[in-house]
Amino acid sequence: MAEALDAGAPSFRDRFPDEAAVVRAALLSSFIALTLGAVFGIIQGLHRTNVLRVLDSQFYYTILTAHGVLMVVSFTIFFLVGLFTWATVRSLERPLEDIRYTWAWYGLMVVGTLMAVVAILGGFVPSVDISADVLFTFYAPLQAHPLFYGGLAIFVIGTWLAGADWFWSWYNWKQAHPDERIPLQAFMVLTTMLMWYIATIGIAIAVVGFLLPWSLGLIEQVNPLLTRTLFWFWGHPVVYFWLMPAYLLWYTVLPSLAGGRLFSDPLARVVFVLFLLLSTPVGIHHQYVDPGIAEGFKMIAMTNTMFLLLPSLLTAFTVVASMEHGARQRGGTGLFGWLRALPWRDPAFTGMTLAGLMFAAGGFSGMINAGMNINYLIHNTLWVPGHFHLTVGTAVALTFMAATYWLWPRLTNRQLYSRPIALGQVVLWFVGMALMSNAMHVMGLFGVPRRTAEPQYQGFDFVASFGSITELRIQLALGATLLFVSTLLFAANIALSSWTPTVSGHGHRLPDPLSGPGDSPVVLDNLKLWFGIGMVLVVLAYTLPLASIVQDSGLFGRGIDAYPAMIETPVLLEGSPLSLAEPLASKVSAMLSGVIS
C-alpha cells in the first residue's frame, strides 16, 4: 500500500522553485562528499586490516583526515543546511527573505570546504608544501597548512550565516503571525542553530584565536591542552548538530511515512530544548584520561552526559509510538502484529527505522564511553569508531539517505530511479554496519587502537578472548566492503534519478501531530530563555577548567614546538596513480604560494 500522497498536490519545487534549487545544491554537495569519503573509507578498512594495501602506510593518515572531514563536516552539515532550508520554508510557508544571501552563505561553505580539502589532499603530493595530516581533530602541536584552518573557519562562518537566514525568516513570520506557536519544524531548526552558536564558540576560539595564526607564524606556540579542550567544547555538541536533523526527520516525516501522525508535538519540543541546554557542557567526557584537568570537572561532565540520555530515550518512545499509531491506522492488530502493517517496501521508511534501531545500540555503547572510569578500558581503542559508526555513521547517515529517497522527488519533480535498489541499499548498509561495528567494538575491548595504519605490532600480540583477531579483521573488512557498495548504490540511484520522467503531484502534506503545539506550555517557545540557560550551563561547565589550564600551563603553553604533519620521505608504491599528480600539483602550489605568502 503506497504512502498517503495527496495526488495532484504541488511539490516543494512547484511552490518554492528558488528555494528548491538551493536545497538541491546543498544536498548534492553533501552526496559528493559522502561518495568521496566512502572511497577513502574502504581504502582504510582494507588497509588497517591488512587485507589489501595499495598505498604506503604514511598516506593512511592523509586518507583518514579526508574521510573524517568529508564525512562529519561536509556530508553531514551540507545535508543539514539543505534540510533545514526545506524545513523552515515549508513549515513557515514563506520563501526565503533574500535568495542571494542564501546562495552567498552556501557559496562560503563550498569555498571553505574546497580550501580544507585541497589542504588535506595536498598531503598526497609530497613535492607540494601543503598538507593537513592532522586528522579530523587536528590536535596541536601537529600542525596543518593555514588553508586547512582557514577553510574550516570559513565553512563555520557559512553555517552561522545560514542560521541567521532562518532566524530572519522566522522573525518576519512572527510579525505576520503574532500569537501563533512556532511551527514544529521551524522550532527544531531554530533550537538546533542556537545550540550550534553556543557550541562553535569553542572551535572558533581554538581555530581563529590560536591555530590559524600559529600556522601562519603569527604566534610562536600554542597550549595543546587548551586547544584540545576548546576543540572538545565543540566536539561533543557537533554530534548533536549531526543528530538533530535526523531527529527532525524521525519526528516530522517518519510518522507520516508509517501512515500515521506524530504522537506528541510538545514532547518533541521538550527534547530539542533539552539538547540546546545539555549538548555543550559535556565536552570534557572526551578528555576523561587527559592530564591537567581535575577529576571534579570530569565528574560534572559525566553526570551532565548521563542526563543527555534522556532526550534520546524520550525520542525512542515517541517515534515508536508514532509508528505504532500509523501501523494501526493501516489496519495492523495485535501486541506486536502491527509491525507487519508497516510499509517495509518503502526505502525511506525502512531506512529510517533501521537507522533508529541501530542508534539504540550506538547509544548504549556511548553510555559505556560516558562511564568515566570504564572509559579507561576503551579510550582511543577501535571501540570508539565502532560506536560512532553506529551513531553518525548509521543513525545520521542512513536516515539522511533514506530521507533523500522521499525528499528528492519533491525537490526535482522526478521519480526515484529505483525503489527496489533503494530498499536493498538501506538493508545492505544495516548489515554491513552491523558486521563492521561489531568487529570494531570487540577488537577495541581487546586493546586494538583506533587511528592506526598498521595495528600489527612486533613485540606483542593482541589476545582475543574468543575467536581470533584475524577473523575480526576479516569481518571488519567485509563490513566495510558492504558499506562501500551500499554507498555506490545510493549515489548511482540518485544520479540516475536525473533522467527519470517528471511527475507532478508529488506534494505531500505532513499531517498534524496527535497532541498538537497547543497542548504544550508556551514557555517552550521562549527561545531567549533556553538560550540563556544553555549559556549559563556552558559557562559553569567550562570557566573553571579553562581558567585552570591557562593558569597552570599558560595561554600559549611552555616549550611547545609546532609539528607540521607532513610526510618527509614519501614512498610511493610502484605505478601508483598519485605520482602522476605531481607536475599538476606543483603548478597549483606555485599559484597558491603566490597568493598566500
Binding site: G334, L335, R340, T350, F430, A434, S465, G467
Partner: protein
Amino acid sequence: MRDASPAGVLLGSAVLFVILWELRSALGLLAGVDLSAPAYFLTTVAIVAITAFGLSVGLFQLSATVLDQRI
C-alpha cells in the same frame, strides 16, 4: 497463503542475521564461549535462509506466533 511480504522477509532476514551474529560476541565476551567463526556463520546463514524461505512460500506463518496476541 503467506502473510509476510517480500520486503518484510528481506528486512526480517537482515535483522535476524544481525541478532544471531551479535549473539556470538555476547556469548564470547560475557560467557567466554568460543564458537568457531566459520561454523557459526554458516549456521546463522542457514537459519536465516530457512526462515526466509519458509515465510516466503507460506511453510509457516508469522501469525502463528505471538505477534497476533490481543492486548
